[in-house]
Amino acid sequence: MRLLFAALAVGALLAPAAPAAAFCGFYVAKADAKLFNDASKVVMVRDADRTVITMVNDYVGDPKDFAMVIPTPVVLKREQIHIGRAADVSHLDAYTAPRMVEYFDSNPCRPHVLYDAAPAPTTGATQLRKEKAATRSRGVTIEAQYTVGEYDILILSAKESDGLQLWLDENGYKTPPAAKPILASYIAQGMKFFVAKVNLEAKAKAGGEFLRPLQIAFNSPKFMLPIRLGTANARGKQDLLLFTLTRTGRVETANYRTAKIPSDLEVPLFVQKEFGKFYKALFSRAVSKESGRAVFTEYAWDMGWCDPCAADPLSNDQLRRLGVFWVAKGGRSRRGVDVFVTRLHVRYDAKTFPEDLRLTETGDRKNFQGRYITRHHYKGDLACAAGDAYRRRLAQRWEREARQLATLTGWDVAEIRAKMAASGQDLKLLPKEKPWWEQLWD
């Protein structure tokens, strides 16, 4: 039996804007899509009505059970379908991920980098099974049929959802009941369907562990991402990371509120060690603050540079492979490259996101990133004249960090204080104050 894994939609992270000015911290950790279960990643390249979509599915399971149905605005030709490299998308994910930086009170320019090693991608390995295309007419027209890489691809158009659903059922796809009205709606809107399943023979030949991303390129005035079928799987809330690569500026949703993830906030030192946990809690809290109905910007930046860099900017070749047709081949992106990247993170279900995402490109080129700051206190002798004042400032700062972290994540503030003390952020651990008269006769 096959699973109809019908979704473009996955969880996404948006980048909060951090002013690059005055940055002098060190990048220590990032929170990329691997943190979020069920997070799909979609890269969308858009200029005028030219669109290239790269879909990385998070499918985990037997490849023969894999199938994906995606509504598309147009009938796609063989040449419009391509297999991309998951590594390019992972790189883009890493480049745009929310990040942690650290400063040192005494010598802020001494590098001290704790780089969280990124775990290997966990995309499920798959095998493939070849399927005969059913030819029975159910009011379903097979507009085209291709084998691209390890995928068998059918382009369908249908007159009514009953026929399409029957056809899918008869051809071994198990469609969730909730998908039917959604299919009907897309049919009424004249959308076509792109059905991909794994060709097991081709998959065996191609080798490799996991399913590679599918890419489609087309012209359409519809700058949108269909997410409704993704809600039919009834897996609860899902996370979608949408990366857009455009020329003009930041992308936002026109039919949902786009909010910036809280950013540029100082948090206690121990958060360095549990940055993933921290960011997940922060994101969940941000989602509920918006009643689950907002899309979050986690990153918006000119592709030419970064500060701090969670990963290098993508090379021109990588960008071209992702569909950025307007950059020249070869070379590395330089400052001023004509590509603006936006990372949007959506956590959605049918209730909070009833409609597909309608996107709009803005003229906003202000850089923004999800950035969280840790500060190491000075650990040397505090017996100088300013030592007492520093000690008092430190007490205030640590208390502020504790409260801020509690607000951001919903964690218990007493527990936070205990963890801070355990990680050295404790006034008792500072060098003892000398009696004032000792300093008097120095």
Binding site: P181, P221, F223, E252, N255, T258, A294, T362, G363
Partner: protein, 286 residues
């Protein structure tokens, strides 16, 4: 005769346009009972709410730039017409712009204000302006400058924001005697949204979500309700509102624009101008 946008206190907007006798002192500000004060206050509240509570991507300087552009155009236009300067109408136009318009270099806000109010004096038919000033800038600038855009989704479906806009806006529009336009537009827009969902078999959560759009409410309460560019009779206004809703809905669902009603208002304006001339003889000039 004067041009129209909220130039005089409602409900006598249509009939009491008179020139001030030569030599009479011209007070800079209209009397406090003028409903335009309420409108300006409502817009200021909404803008503040957006910036402070919703984190709008909007600097206070942008609002000032839009207001400055509008005031300058109003001043110059009035001066050319030999009439006294009145800052209220251009401020309302600047407020509407600030609610919906976004641009990256700040001067685009000033240009938006200048173009909006300038069009009142430059594009005229039968002695009055034909385009809703703010809508004209919202239509033209994003098509012309990459750095100018509209953010219709900014308000989100925040129920509170919607209620705030609707509540504050309705009072204001009511005093401006143009609530009929607003309600007719909203009713038509709602009917189209629900009708489309029924036709496509979509869940009602979709039209309900669509109706919680802050941009639609801002348009309904602050733009289409402008007495200057809507038909003078109630039947005409309702017909106009329904037509704008229909055309706007089509433009939006056909992916031609994300802000269909604004475009529809612009496209319908010349027709309204012609109908005004045909349906209502111009009042005598003094």
């Amino acid at each position: 005769m004067t041009d129209a946008a909220y130039d005089s206190p409602a409900p006598s907007v249509e009939k009491t346009r008179t020139r001030r006798p030569a030599g009479a002192p011209a007070p800079l500000l209209a009397p406090l009972r003028d409903p335009r004060y309420g409108q300006i206050a409502a817009q200021a509240l909404l803008i503040s709410f957006g910036v402070l509570a919703l984190g709008f991507n909007l600097s206070p300087l942008a609002a000032l730039a839009a207001a400055a552009g509008a005031l300058v155009a109003e001043y110059l236009g009035r001066w050319a017409q030999g009439r006294a300067f009145d800052p209220l109408s251009p401020l309302i136009t600047a407020g509407s712009l600030t609610l919906l318009f976004r641009a990256e270099p700040l001067w685009l806000f000033a240009l938006a204000g200048l173009l909006a109010v300038g069009s009142k004096f430059l594009i005229r038919m039968g002695g009055r302006h034909i385009f809703n000033p703010a809508a004209l800038s919202l239509f033209i600038l994003p098509l012309t400058f990459g750095g100018a855009w509209l953010s219709p989704g900014q308000w989100g479906a925040l129920g509170l924001a919607a209620i705030a806009i609707a509540g504050v806006g309705s009072v204001v529009a009511g005093r401006a005697a143009r609530l009929d336009t607003t309600l007719a537009f909203l009713a038509a827009w709602a009917a189209l949204s629900f009708g489309r969902a029924l036709y496509f078999g979509d869940p009602m959560s979709i039209p309900i979500h669509q109706l919680q759009s802050g941009a639609i409410l801002v348009f309904a309460f602050f733009m289409i309700s402008d007495p200057a560019t809507t038909p003078p009779t109630r039947a005409g206004r309702i017909l106009h509102a329904v037509a704008v809703a229909g055309l706007g809905f089509w433009l939006q669902t056909s992916w031609i624009t994300n802000i269909g009603p604004v475009w529809a208002l612009i496209f319908a304006a010349p027709l309204v101008g012609v109908l005004r001339i045909v349906a209502q003889p111009r009042p005598k000039e003094t």
